[in-house]
């Protein structure tokens, strides 16, 4: 933990060297996700609801998904940009240090400019909360915290998968965007609106519905109580990702690519 603190401080100091550029990328993050908001806003100027969800409920959902993603991206950025870490030989350096590789990769990049998106997400989130007439209790606040935790873990899991594939090939990895950027982009609406098949896929194969749709139903008082705990189950998704990572590292060590 102390080591991570050091990593964090170093990133903070680096950023301070380029304040303008940092502020601009924050602004960029804000604007890019602002388009997301505009899309929702104008759709709801025309339609009052979608598959039973109102404007404020969708904003709540969008805010939470965006927060989950931004958290993962800010802290697991090392995995997200792992291709360049491997191709620049930085991974060799990581291997000659007596610490866990995963931890070092986590520390190697911390993307604080994602704060631009976090701000946006928080604004949507707060608006969603205030306008959706949810009766807030302590357990619901805890459910939101679990969603953020589970969501960050699931998105990080996909970053880890991406990084593991980088050990084998860096060609054609663009398709992984489907699971990361795609999930962020389309996670703005509750998963159920995309139809039953997508919902099933996102429940049993990739656990997106567990960190978004089901706990959201709980928040809106239309779901079972145990829905609130599903994000914890989603965290299990990390296990196969880590296995894949181990396989990737073993491949790297035996092929030295």
């Amino acid at each position: 933990m102390k080591l991570y603190g050091k990593f964090f401080m170093i990133h903070l100091k680096s950023i301070m060297q380029y304040k303008t550029s940092f502020l601009l990328s924050c602004l960029g993050q804000f604007l890019v996700s602002f388009n997301l908001f505009l899309g929702i806003y104008f759709m709801f100027r025309r339609f009052s609801q979608v598959e039973g969800f109102t404007y404020s409920e969708v904003l709540l959902c969008c805010g939470i998904t965006l927060l989950e993603f931004s958290l993962a991206e800010a802290f697991a950025r090392g995995f997200d940009t792992f291709g360049s870490i491997v191709s620049r030989g930085e991974f060799d350096r990581i291997l000659v240090r007596p610490r866990n590789e995963i931890f070092q990769v986590l520390g190697s990049r911390i993307e604080l400019s994602r704060i631009g998106r976090v701000l946006q997400a928080i604004v949507m989130f707060i608006y969603g909360i205030r306008a959706s007439h949810i009766h807030w209790t302590l357990t619901k606040a805890a459910a939101v915290a679990l969603m953020l935790l589970g969501g960050a873990v699931v998105f990080s899991g996909f970053f880890v998968i991406y990084a593991s594939i980088c050990f084998f090939t860096i060609e054609g990895l663009e398709f992984m965007n489907i699971f990361t950027d795609g999930a962020r982009e389309y996670g703005k609406y509750p998963v159920s609106i995309y139809g039953k098949k997508v919902l099933q896929l996102c429940t049993f194969v990739i656990p997106y519905a567990l960190i978004q749709y089901y706990p959201l139903l709980y928040l809106l008082d239309t779901g079972e109580a145990y829905y609130a705990l599903l994000p914890l189950a989603a965290c299990l998704f990390m296990l196969p990702c880590l296995v894949l990572w181990k396989i990737g590292v073993r491949h790297y060590v035996s092929s030295g690519s």
Partner: protein
């Protein structure tokens, strides 16, 4: 002309080399299109009456948008150009016997077309075989198809001409990154990249449709499905030509000013 063609060939064979990337790009865009359509379907089911286009036209719009993504997105601005302006390497470019504006214009055009040609075919084919109304329908008529092609080319021209303005403005600002961020996200929304322009509320829509951004992907994609017809088509076509001329002229003026600035101040 010859040098521009040879540049195009170079780009194209580069694209072929990275076929895995192209394949992955196709898969990603196909997914993107499918999700987009499922989203519109949800709104359609909830309230079909509030839909400003037919569902089929919307789906065609989405598929064409994905297929020709490389033609219209503004976030594929060339970093190389930004860097060369920032670090002064631009001086080398000035040594070559070509006009900077023309060269970059054709480079940008080549990049977009070569990127799109490879990727559009599989997506269009896939989409064509999907069941109606979710797939890509045949064009509304032969005239529509012809006009689609014409306006597609004009749309790319407007897009490139606009990007050229961004490049040229970089000569005059200390922070091209900021300029880039703001324009890119603005253009994406105003050109109908987030949601098709007909979905915008009246009043806002009429104003946005007059802007140069509406002359990019908005026109060809709506002509194809027959959403834009008759007088509307003519008006949109004229607007495209108008904006193309204005943007190119503005770019040329900035080009001349920039060259003066570079040669006087030494970059």
């Amino acid at each position: 002309m010859k040098k521009y063609i040879s540049f195009f060939r170079l780009r194209f064979s580069m694209e072929l080399q990275y076929r895995a990337a192209a394949l992955a790009g196709v898969a990603t865009q196909f997914f993107w299109g499918a999700m987009e359509i499922l989203m519109f379907r949800a709104f359609y089911r909830t309230n079909p009456g509030a839909f400003p286009m037919t569902l089929q036209a919307t789906c065609a719009y989405v598929w064409l948008q994905q297929a020709f993504l490389a033609l219209f997105v503004t976030w594929v601005l060339e970093n190389e150009i930004f860097d060369s302006i920032l670090n002064g390497n631009i001086a080398y470019e000035l040594c070559r016997p070509v006009n900077i504006y023309n060269m970059w214009f054709s480079r940008n055009l080549a990049m977009r077309i070569s990127g799109a040609v490879l990727r559009c075919i599989p997506i269009l084919l896939f989409a064509a075989f999907l069941p109606a109304p979710y797939g890509l329908m045949a064009p509304a008529g032969l005239t529509n198809f012809f006009l689609f092609f014409l306006t597609l080319l004009l749309g790319v021209g407007v897009t490139v001409a606009f990007c050229m303005l961004v490049y040229m403005l970089c000569f005059f600002t200390i922070s091209p990154m900021g300029l880039r961020i703001v324009t890119v996200s603005m253009v994406e929304f105003l050109s109908g990249g987030i949601i098709p322009l007909p979905f915008l509320p009246d009043g806002v829509k009429q104003i946005i449709e007059l802007l140069p951004f509406a002359s990019m992907q908005n026109v060809p994609l709506r002509i194809y499905s027959g959403d834009l017809t008759g007088g509307g088509t003519l008006r949109a076509l004229l607007l495209q030509v108008f904006w193309l001329c204005i943007l190119v002229a503005a770019g040329k003026i900035l080009d001349a000013l920039a060259m003066k600035k570079v040669t006087v101040q030494g970059g």
